[in-house]
């Protein structure tokens, strides 16, 4: 543990926290709230967390209800994944120190009408609720949490190597829109087709999670995602979404029921192993297409945080973002 502490003191600002100091690790490094243009993205790799006492520390952060849910999962790996997901969400939000009354362990969560989790902040005197939004996604090998200020966010991560058991085009015809099916059908290489399918899936999943409605609340057939070359505004139907300047847009067949009618997307390769998609709402009055400012951290809470945006751990695939 000594090596972790040495790394900590050289990279961390000391700060007073309203939380318990754990005996074998250092406190969470505080982070400034994201600006309205920024998206923060934190992820953890379960394979890197093996220390039993660290896992127990994470367990102690959870509410009784969360602990029950963890233990309800069948199998050790799934239990660990569920534990790390809750620990990631709690520690991530706690870093922003939005409210001095709220610590990593006292954070409360609730679900919106469609089941999307959100933070339940204690009521201030002026009734003003903090505008921090988050969304969680996980696979067995990577768990991620996206954070924004003042706009809804949805994220989805999938393993690049994820295999699809069913025929991809049958799958797409059933769940995707006509335009999206055409895009996939135009790809002759089955491996490329599979990859494009997964990317499209993660983008669509990120969108319905940003909407707050999830897969069952916003069927995938009710909206189309398109890649557009941002410079010329022309469509690329070849399925090649590797344009640096591509913008991703959504056309919904239903009325936008939200206050935000504009959505921003980003999709990137993460840690060499995953596709990660982000969707966030931007206010209708926002001008033009302002690129999303994305900051990505790899974390093992209480042990190590590493900012990885701008490294080869984050490789843009589509969407306008820095």
């Amino acid at each position: 543990m000594l090596s972790y502490l040495c790394r900590a003191t050289s990279s961390m600002k000391t700060h007073c926290f309203n939380q318990k100091f754990f005996h074998s690790s250092f406190p969470l490094a505080p982070v400034q709230l994201p600006s309205h243009q920024e998206t923060h993205f934190w992820y953890i790799l379960p394979n890197e967390v093996k220390n039993a006492s660290l896992l127990n520390q994470y367990l102690e952060l959870l509410s009784p209800h969360e602990k029950e849910n963890v233990f309800r999962m069948r199998g050790e790996e799934l239990k660990k994944g569920a534990l790390l997901a809750r620990a990631l969400v709690r520690t991530t939000i706690a870093r922003y120190q939005v409210n001095p009354q709220v610590s990593v362990t006292s954070l409360k969560f609730r679900k919106n009408i469609h089941g999307k989790p959100e933070v339940e902040w204690p009521h201030n005197d002026d009734g003003h609720q903090p505008l921090l939004h988050f969304n969680l996604s996980h696979t067995s090998s990577l768990i991620a949490c996206g954070v924004t200020m003042n706009s809804p966010i949805g994220i989805d991560v999938e393993e690049k190597q994820r295999t699809i058991k069913n025929n991809i085009l049958s799958f797409a015809r059933r769940y995707f829109t006509h335009h999206e099916v055409e895009l996939l059908a135009a790809i002759s290489d089955p491996e490329v087709q599979r990859q494009e399918f997964i990317k499209l899936w993660t983008l669509k999943e990120a969108y319905v999670k940003a909407l707050g409605r999830g897969f069952s609340g916003a069927p995938f057939k009710t909206f189309t995602l398109r890649y557009k070359a941002a410079a010329k505004g022309s469509f690329h139907l070849s399925g090649n979404s590797n344009s640096e300047a591509s913008e991703i847009t959504v056309d919904s067949f239903e009325n936008a029921s939200d206050f935000t009618s504009k959505w921003q997307f980003a999709i990137f390769e993460l840690a060499g192993s995953h596709y990660a998609a982000i969707c966030r709402g931007i206010p209708a009055e926002a001008e033009g297409s302002v690129p999303m400012k994305l900051t990505v951290w790899k974390t093992i809470p209480f042990v190590e945080d590493k900012r990885v945006s701008g490294t080869d751990a984050v490789v843009r695939i589509g969407g306008l973002f820095d």
Partner: protein
Amino acid sequence: MAFAAGSSISVTSISCSFKQNKAPIRFSSLNSMSLSINAKSFPSLRSRTVQNRFLVSCAAKPETVHKVCEIVRKQLALPAETAVTGDSKFAALGADSLDTVEIVMGLEEAFDISVQEDSAQNIATVQDAADLIETLVEKKGA
């Protein structure tokens, strides 16, 4: 059954447990019942069923439950030591929305049935899936 208005119901001796979620209709002494529905007179049967959140779980045949377990196990690549039984919840087995969709498609292929999206959303456990399959298979045969 809740489809009391003009449904044709045949009663045979198959034991059945009755699961009820928001149905306004109660049965006091229901021992056993099976169901054969004339699909033509209930074009909106499925959507009404879902709107009432009404589920009848007749104890699905063990081989149906077993087959569902197999498909789930394969889709989720579960380790051998993870038990999968009728009351296993998909979420607790680590299924995400893509897995759930793949499982439904796998079940459709295995049983030669077609599952509507609203029914698919109500499947939370292996038993739910097995019961739905048997309802759809029976409906096909009716």
